[in-house]
Chain length 212, copies 2
Amino acid sequence: MNNMSTKRNARAKEIAQAALRLFARKGFTAGSVEEISAEAGIGKSTVYEYYRNKEELFVAAVQEGADQWFADLEMIGSETQDPVERLYRIADLYLEDHGADFTEKSRLFLEVVSQTLLQGGIFSDQRHLILNIYQRHIRTVVGFLLEGVSSGRLRPEIARHSEKIAINFLAYLDGLVMHGMVAGGQVDLRSQIDLFLKYFAPLLTIERTEAA
Amino acid sequence: MNNMSTKRNARAKEIAQAALRLFARKGFTAGSVEEISAEAGIGKSTVYEYYRNKEELFVAAVQEGADQWFADLEMIGSETQDPVERLYRIADLYLEDHGADFTEKSRLFLEVVSQTLLQGGIFSDQRHLILNIYQRHIRTVVGFLLEGVSSGRLRPEIARHSEKIAINFLAYLDGLVMHGMVAGGQVDLRSQIDLFLKYFAPLLTIERTEAA
DNA sequence: CTAAAAGTCGACCCGTTGTTCGGAAGTGTT
DNA sequence: AACACTTCCGAACAACGGGTCGACTTTTAG
C-alpha cells in the first residue's frame, strides 16, 4: 500500500516535470496535454489519472519548478557565509544556462506572472499559492541580509530596510533577465550585473574603501 | 482617394487599439478575434478586411502600444532638462495608473516578452521588430544620460557606460513592475523606487554630498 | 441616377484540444 | 487459477475559435 502510493507519487512527479519542461518551452495555452504526455512517454488519458485537469497540472509544474529553485537557493546559503558572495551566487543562478536558449526557470516564471494577472488566468483565483512562493523567495534573501548584519559584515542600518533591499535586488535581476530575453543575446548580462554589484555591494558592506 | 485611405487607416487604428486593450487584458491566445471585434464595435469578419490574420493584428497592437509609450517618453524629454528629474519621471511612467488594476502597457509588455521567446510564438521569426522597439527605448534613456553629461549635471565618466547604466535602470523598473504584479499590492512600488533612486542618483550626479 | 467598387457581417467550415469512457493489460492475493 | 483492483490508453465527444464565403449595404464616380 505504501509502496503503491510512493510509486504513484513518483509517476505524478514525472508527469509534473514533463509538464514543467513543456510549459516552459511553449507556455500554458500553447503546450497541449497530448504533448506533455508524449514528453512523459505515456498516453494522453493517463495524465488525467493523476491530475484532474490541465490547470491542476500547471500548478503542479509550478510547484515543481519552485521546489528546484528553493533547493538551489538553500544550497547557496549553506555553501558560503559571506553575504556579498551570496548575492553574487544568486545572480549566477539567474544567469545559469543562459547560453543558446534560456533556462526553464525564467520562462516558467514569465508564464506564472502572465497567468497571475491575465483576466481568467489560472492563478487569478489562486493568488495565495503564488504569493507564498514569492514571499518565501523574498524572505530567503532577507535572511541572507540579516545574517550578514549579525555576523558584522553588513552595515547595521541595512536591517531596517532589509525587505526593501531584497525586493529591489531581486526585481533588478528579474528585470535584467527579461531584457536578456527580448534583446536575445545583444546584451551581456554578466557585465551588466558586474556593473550593478560594483556599486550596490559597497552600499551594504562595512569596509568602506573611499580611496578609489 | 486620399480621404478614403485616411479613413481606412483610422479604422485600422481603432481596431488596433481595441486589440491592444483586449490583448493586454487577456493575452494573445486567450483574447479572441471575436472579442476584439466586439470591443471595436464591429463584426468579426470585418477585422479580416484590415488585418490578414490574428498575428498581424497583434503586431499592430504592439506597434500602437509602443507609439504611445514613446510619445510619453519624448514628452518627458521636452518637459524637463534635468537628467535626474527625467529618471524620476520615467519611473512615474512605469507606475502610472498602478492602482486598482495594472496599466495596459505593462501587461502588453509581458505578453510581448512571452511571444518573443515562446517556441512558435509570434515574434520568434519577427524578432527584429521587437528589437527595434527595445533599442529605441534604450537609446532614448542613453540620450538623456549623455545630455546630462554635456550639460554638466552628470559626471563625465557616465558617458562611457551610458548604455549599461540605461539598461540596468530600465531592467530594474521592469522587474519592479513585475514584482508589483505578482505581489498584487503587497509591495509599495513608490517607496521601493524612492529607496533605489536615493542611492542611484548620487552615483550619477556631479554634486557629491559626502556629509550625510 | 446608376453601376461598379469598397465595406460589412452572419453563417458556416474545420482543425485543434481538453476531457471522458470503456475496455485491455498488468499486479497482487488467496 | 480466479478474483479484485489499479494502471493505462485508443477512440470518441464537445466546445471553442481562427478563418472563409457569399450576400447585403454603403460609398464613390461618371
